[in-house]
């Protein structure tokens, strides 16, 4: 029947795509609107005056009409997230209300207020131009509206808004938070603050756009609101600096500082200013909410006088922001009772977003709403009630596809004759490919009928593709609403990729089909390889894979059904329509399915009967069912790999790299390559295996595996083998093993070379064991494990191969008091401690441990140290001795911290030793000399015995002369004797006398105790001298004081004289008296 092949066919070019798929319901032409209107069957009633079981749009319309007929006041609030179809339904209600009212002989006045560029100006203009307000009767009111619109076109509107907000801080009785109080007025006057708020996207600009509208645009976006938000006050540092430094008022500076880094304060300010916004808008427009209210009350009075009633359809009440309070007052005011009897009846249907209903709709008004509806799925946000199953999605899509296939004339004619849904023209009826097309891609009925003539083809989609795309919408970007179905799927795909059908390039690769859709993946990951194998090119394979995952059942299973072959649930026609080869597919589970009915349950998760024509799979065997069940639980890691293959990030890279490392470690015969298993353990691990395109950042030293199809197959194989090896069929298992084997054949050499190297980009210059032996000898030297007497190769071997537990603790050595070694010696020890020895601060490997592990000859799988390759170690020690401990500079100075751990610890330690060991030895030699000199200083040419005797005698003298010496000042240390001191002095001279590097190093290594004890003597003498000098000072002071007291020494003589004088005087008296008597 088909004379022309059904391939590369385009049938949706009769009308401009942007005109038909216009997501703004109120902007679309009436004929297109009606032709594409999908009935709303599920409208949720949150509140209604009576139970309404029929939730269809028709019932809602009937409710409005019936209430009008009953002369009942009606205030319908239609809530829904943006894009759920509120506008569409409101417009449909309006159109149908007008028709029904007219046909029913009614004379209601119907006004539809559109969202209209999301601006108050446009909204007011709509009201002025609606023709409801008679120019003569409503002259004053209209003049006010016109004046308001003129105000809103003023170029200095932003400043006016700011000024009026500033006035509002004084005029409006809104409670301001304490920190804001008194400061916000000056804040709003600050030049820099004003500039910031007037920037594009900022609060004042949003308010300006809302009030005045924006040329050639849609005004405020759906998620933009004419109100302040916390983020509006998130000022950058530069702005804060300007406010602070460039002459701003102190209040403005203080408030700006307060807001910095304090989101709660910013929110407080936003909340406060939002309370001022209505005042500012009223003042800016010179139109108050009360003016608007009076305008509509006047209208209702006038209509009452005319015997007519008012019906208002308002697409979005938020377009009245600032004046909305007045409008709401009108909407809730009934025409009954004493207060309302002068008004006509009012029926209103008002669209509100969830956010507006939650934040701006007063609670007392909510009580007075007669019908509260929601178009959200289950009454919640994020998804539309309209599109909850594949049928609804295909139904809506089919209507738009049909409209695209019809000419404008055909639609206008249909509208002219009554626009009855069942009479809507069907473009498919005249299409030569209809039968093949509908068979391959399916169709959707215009009405609840099996009438073939009403079937609208879904080409270039099918039901599965539409549902997969809709279900796959990335809700972090878009909501699952009619608007996103139309915009993100139908319009985007037809606009971006539609022409490529004609070029034979459709569908594009999975990720390119729709931007806002999370790409699906094949259910059987191994089938990607099969697709590649059966395709002529990778581009073609990508397209076939895309066809399979969107249009097909996400497999390329080969199935024969009633003599017709299907691959992935798609017939050859579907492949050929896009100019793709009909591949054989996966024949591993070939089944021939007999004469089974073509009808049945849809696979797409709905119990509703599907009218999609592709046949449903017949009942499968139990094995197949099991496999299908397994496959249906799509493995997220497999999906991840498939997305990664399509240039997405690999999220499960850690697990995959681990499996890859495990596989590599076990697969390669490392001994045959002469690679130590220690190195393998370190190098072949998850963190060193980086997969190109992995989501995590790679750091340190690693081997990168490039993003290739082969690697993708390897990773998929590893997932399967690791997660369900016991469940996969033998042939699939075999396929995976071949994949792994082939890949390893190509990559083994690269991996082995990587393991051998210290780091990926560094070729080793010396064997690791050499480095470790020499390094450990030097470490043993620093760690005082060597002695001058143990200098044979065998001695040194035993010293370095001593268990760490038996070796001296470096922490203890470095924390000795007094510390006997030179600064260089200690610095070197500290510098290498992390890698040299077991360290409480370092749980990682160390050179000592690494030497044991490396020299260990593994016995089977055991990693215990049981058999050391002593011969190799002895050889290396002998060579090192022969070179008189020459530490060659053979290694790079830098090595990545995350390079191979044995290499890291070895190279880092070796390099440090190479740079500093010789200097440390020299410094240590000087240290010995310094200590020797220190002792000489105290001895000062005397023998040690003389010194000790002098000390004893002086202490005895102190005791005899009551000069106290506290133990804190000095106490005799019985362990220090002149005999030992004599020996130490001799030993120090011996150490100093060494000239051969090895001898010196060994002597110095063993000199720890000698130096420590010598220092003890020095410290002992120091303390003694310090104490004696203190006493000497005290004595000097005492002597000076006593000598001063003797200045008055004549007193004695004076007293003697006084005695003598007095005696003589008395004697003279006696003599005189005796003479007198005689």
């Amino acid at each position: 029947m088909d004379e022309i092949a059904f391939t590369r066919f385009i049938c949706w070019d009769k009308q401009p795509l942007s005109k038909v798929i216009n997501t703004e319901a109120l902007s679309i032409d009436k004929d297109l609107f009606l032709a594409t209107h999908s009935p709303f069957d599920v409208i949720s009633y949150v509140k209604s005056p009576r139970q309404i079981k029929d939730t269809s749009e028709k019932k809602l319309l009937e409710e409005l009409l019936q209430r009008g007929h009953n002369n009942e006041h009606t205030f319908v609030v239609m809530q829904g997230i943006p894009g759920t179809g509120k506008s569409h339904l409101i417009r449909w209600l309006k159109e149908q209300y007008v028709v029904e009212n007219r046909e029913g002989g009614g004379n209601d006045v119907v006004l539809l207020v559109e969202r209209a560029n999301s601006s108050l100006r446009q909204t007011l203009t709509q009201i002025i131009s609606s023709g409801l307000f008679d120019a003569a009767r409503f002259a004053n009111q209209v003049a006010k509206l016109e004046s308001a619109t003129q105000q809103l076109s003023d170029e200095s509107l932003s400043d006016t808004i700011l000024n009026n907000l500033q006035v509002a801080t004084r005029e409006v009785d809104a409670p301001a938070p304490r920190r804001i109080q008194g400061k916000v007025e000056k804040f709003l006057l600050d030049f820099f603050v004003r500039q910031e708020l007037k920037n594009e996207g900022a609060a004042i600009e949003r308010l300006r756009l809302f009030l005045s509208g924006r040329e050639a645009s849609t005004g405020l976006g759906e998620k933009e609101f004419p109100r302040f938000e916390e983020k509006d006050f998130e000022f950058n540092i530069e702005l804060l600096r300007q406010i602070r430094d460039e002459g701003g008022h102190r209040d403005a500076k203080a408030l700006a500082e307060t807001l910095h880094h304090k989101s709660d304060k910013r929110q407080e300010l936003a909340d406060y200013l939002n309370q001022l916004v209505p005042f500012a808008i009223e003042r800016t427009t010179a139109l108050s909410a009360n003016d608007l209210k009076q305008l509509f009350f006047d209208l209702r009075r006038e209509l009452k006088n005319q015997g007519r009633n008012l019906v208002l359809f308002i697409e979005d009440i938020s377009v009245f922001t600032g004046l909305d309070a007045g409008l709401v007052d009108v909407l809730v005011t009934q025409h009954t009772g004493e207060s309302g009897k002068e008004y006509c009846r009012l029926t209103s249907v008002v669209g509100v977003t969830d956010a507006y209903f939650k934040g701006s709709f007063p609670d007392n008004i909510k009580q007075r709403v007669t019908h509260h509806l929601t178009l959200n799925f289950d009454g919640q946000g994020e998804q539309s009630q309209l599109l909850t199953d594949p049928k609804a999605v295909t139904d809506m899509s089919a209507r738009y596809l049909n409209a695209l296939r019809l000419t404008k004339y055909e639609l206008q004619e249909w509208v002219r004759i009554g626009a009855k849904p069942e009479e809507l023209p069907n473009a498919c009826l005249s299409c030569q490919h209809r039968i093949a097309c509908h068979a391959a891609f399916g169709a959707s009925p215009l009405a609840e009928s099996d009438n073939e003539k009403l079937q609208i083809g879904l080409y270039p989609f099918n039901e599965r593709a539409l549902w997969t795309l809709f279900e796959g919408l990335d809700t972090s970007k878009v909501s699952k609403t009619p608007r996103s179905l139309l915009g993100s799927i139908l319009e985007y795909i037809l606009q971006s990729h539609g022409p490529r059908i004609g070029e034979g390039l459709f569908p594009p690769p999975i990720r390119e089909l729709a931007n806002d859709v999370r790409p699906p993946t094949l259910l059987k990951d191994s089938q990607r390889r099969l697709i590649t194998d059966q395709s002529n090119s990778s581009t073609e394979a990508d397209r076939i894979e895309s066809l399979a995952v969107y249009w097909g059942d996400r497999t390329v299973d080969h199935v024969s059904r009633n003599g017709q072959t299907e691959v992935g649930g798609l017939t050859e026609t579907a492949f050929l329509a896009f100019d793709l080869p009909f591949i054989t597919g996966d024949t591993s589970a070939i089944e021939t399915i007999g004469n089974l009915p073509l009808t049945g349950e849809s696979k797409l998760g709905t119990s509703r009967p599907s009218l999609v024509t592709p046949p449903v799979r017949p009942e499968l065997s139990s094995k197949q069912q099991k496999q299908q069940a397994l496959e249906s639980q799509t493995d997220p890691i497999i999906l991840d790999i498939q997305e990664w293959r399509s240039k997405s990030e690999l999220k499960n890279y850690r697990q995959l790299a681990q499996w890859l490392a495990d596989f590599v470690k076990e697969y390669i015969d490392w001994e045959a390559h002469g690679v130590s298993l220690t190195l393998v353990d370190d190098r072949v691990r998850q963190r060193r295996f980086v997969i190109e395109g992995q989501s995590g950042r790679a750091s340190g030293d690693y081997l990168v595996f490039m993003r290739t199809d082969d690697l993708a197959f390897v990773l998929q194989a590893l997932v399967t083998l690791n997660k369900r090896a016991h469940e996969v069929a033998e042939d699939e298992l075999g396929g995976h093993l071949i994949t792994l084997s082939n890949w390893m054949g190509e990559n083994e050499a690269i991996i082995v070379e990587y393991v051998r190297r210290p780091q990926e980009d560094l070729a080793p210059s010396r064997p690791l064991l050499d480095l470790l032996v020499e390094t450990n000898l030097l470490i043993a030297c620093l760690g005082e494990d060597l002695t001058a007497s143990g200098k044979t190769t065998r001695d040194l071997y035993f010293r370095i191969m001593t268990r760490q537990e038996k070796q001296k603790s470096w922490s203890a050595l470095n924390n000795r008091e007094p510390y006997p070694r030179s600064g260089e010696w200690r610095d070197l020890m500290r510098g290498i401690q992390k890698y040299a020895v077991k360290d409480p601060q370092n749980s990682g490997k160390n050179c000592r441990e690494e030497l044991f592990i490396l020299a260990n000859c593994r016995q089977g799988t055991s990693r215990q140290i049981q058999f050391i390759d002593a011969a190799s170690v002895l050889d290396i020690i002998a060579r090192f001795k022969k070179s008189d401990w020459e530490i060659k500079n053979l290694l790079p100075n830098q090595i990545a911290k995350n390079a191979s751990e044995p290499w890291v610890v070895s190279i880092n330690t070796y390099n440090k030793l190479q740079r500093q060991f010789e200097a440390a030895i020299k410094a240590e030699q000087e240290r010995v000399s310094e200590i020797n000199s220190g002792l000489d200083l105290y001895l000062d040419g005397h023998t040690s015995k003389e010194v000790f005797t002098a000390i004893e005698e002086l202490l005895e003298s102190f005791r005899e002369n009551a000069i106290s010496v506290t133990t804190s000042q000095f106490s005799v240390d019985g362990t220090l004797t002149y005999g030992k001191l004599k020996n130490r002095l001799e030993d120090l001279n011996v150490v100093q006398g060494n000239r051969i590097t090895e001898d010196l190093a060994l002597a110095l290594s063993g000199a720890g105790e000698l130096l420590q004890e010598s220092l003890n003597y020095i410290e002992y003498f120091e303390r003694f001298v310090r104490m004696v000098k203190q006493k000497e000072e005290n004595l000097n002071s005492r002597i000076g004081s006593l000598e001063g007291e003797h200045i008055g020494g004549n007193k004695y003589q004076e007293t003697l004289t006084m005695f003598e004088t007095l005696e003589q005087f008395l004697e003279s008296v006696v003599i005189d008296a005796e003479e007198l008597v005689t």
């Binding site: 000062d940 005397h942 010194v947 002098a950 000390i951 005698e953 007193k1051 003598e1060 007095l1062 004697e1067």
Partner: protein, 230 residues
């Protein structure tokens, strides 16, 4: 270093000990000087007084005073010797103060005895003639002298002028009372009796009566009363 250091310190210890010993002696000297000064200051004024009034004392009194001074001097010499021997004589010197006080008391008593004896006769005469008109008219001159002399026994002369003053005042009082005309023993006897209110007409002897009538003022000075004679 250590050996030299210990040697130096030991020398310093010895030096310190010597100076401390000297410093301790200084204290003994100071204390001794102070005690000795105290003794001297207490003793010397009385020795001076003794020299002044030596002529007023009896031989026994002089011997007694000398004896006391000798005792004091002996003890003083003993302290002197102790001091010279670098012992502490302070206690001995303090005990000398008792001896000095004894000497003081002795001298005060000796002088009081002397002065009292000297003045008492004149005071009795004054009492007899004090009412007589010719004495009464000089009372302004006599009364202060009498008052001074009444306290003289309690004031051991410290200086020569103290002693001269005593003697001159005593002489002045004698002169004032001794110039009364015709005052003989019979009249004096009569005046005693008048004073004791035992005089009778019988006592108005020929010597007495004319003396009484010698001038009209003296005559009016006697009052005759009735009473029993003894």
């Amino acid at each position: 270093m250590i050996v030299d250091l210990t040697e130096n310190v030991r020398i310093q210890i010895a030096r310190r000990n010597e100076l401390e010993r000297i410093r301790d002696n200084q204290q003994i000297i100071a204390d001794t000087a102070q005690a000795l000064s105290s003794v001297r200051d207490a003793l010397v004024p009385y020795i001076t007084s003794l020299n002044l009034v030596r002529s007023c004392l009896t031989e026994e009194q002089i011997e007694e005073g000398v004896k006391k001074i000798e005792t004091i001097n002996t003890r003083l010499k003993r302290s002197h010797e102790k001091f010279a021997a670098q012992e502490r004589p302070v206690r001995e010197l303090n005990s000398l103060k008792g001896l000095v006080e004894e000497l003081q008391d002795f001298l005060k008593q000796a002088w009081a005895s002397y002065a009292y004896t000297k003045t008492q006769l004149q005071f009795e005469l004054f009492n007899l003639v004090g009412q007589l008109p010719e004495v009464a008219e000089h009372m302004a001159t006599i009364a202060p002298i009498k008052r001074n002399l009444e306290t003289a026994p309690n004031k051991l002369p410290r200086t020569a002028s103290d002693l001269e003053k005593f003697e001159s005042e005593l002489e002045a009082l004698q002169d004032s009372l001794g110039n009364i005309e015709g005052l003989n023993s019979e009249i004096t006897q009569f005046l005693y009796k008048v004073q004791n209110k035992t005089a009778t007409v019988a006592d108005l002897t020929d010597d007495v009566l004319p003396w009484c009538r010698e001038n009209s003022e003296r005559e009016a000075a006697f009052l005759i009363t009735l009473g029993r004679s003894r």
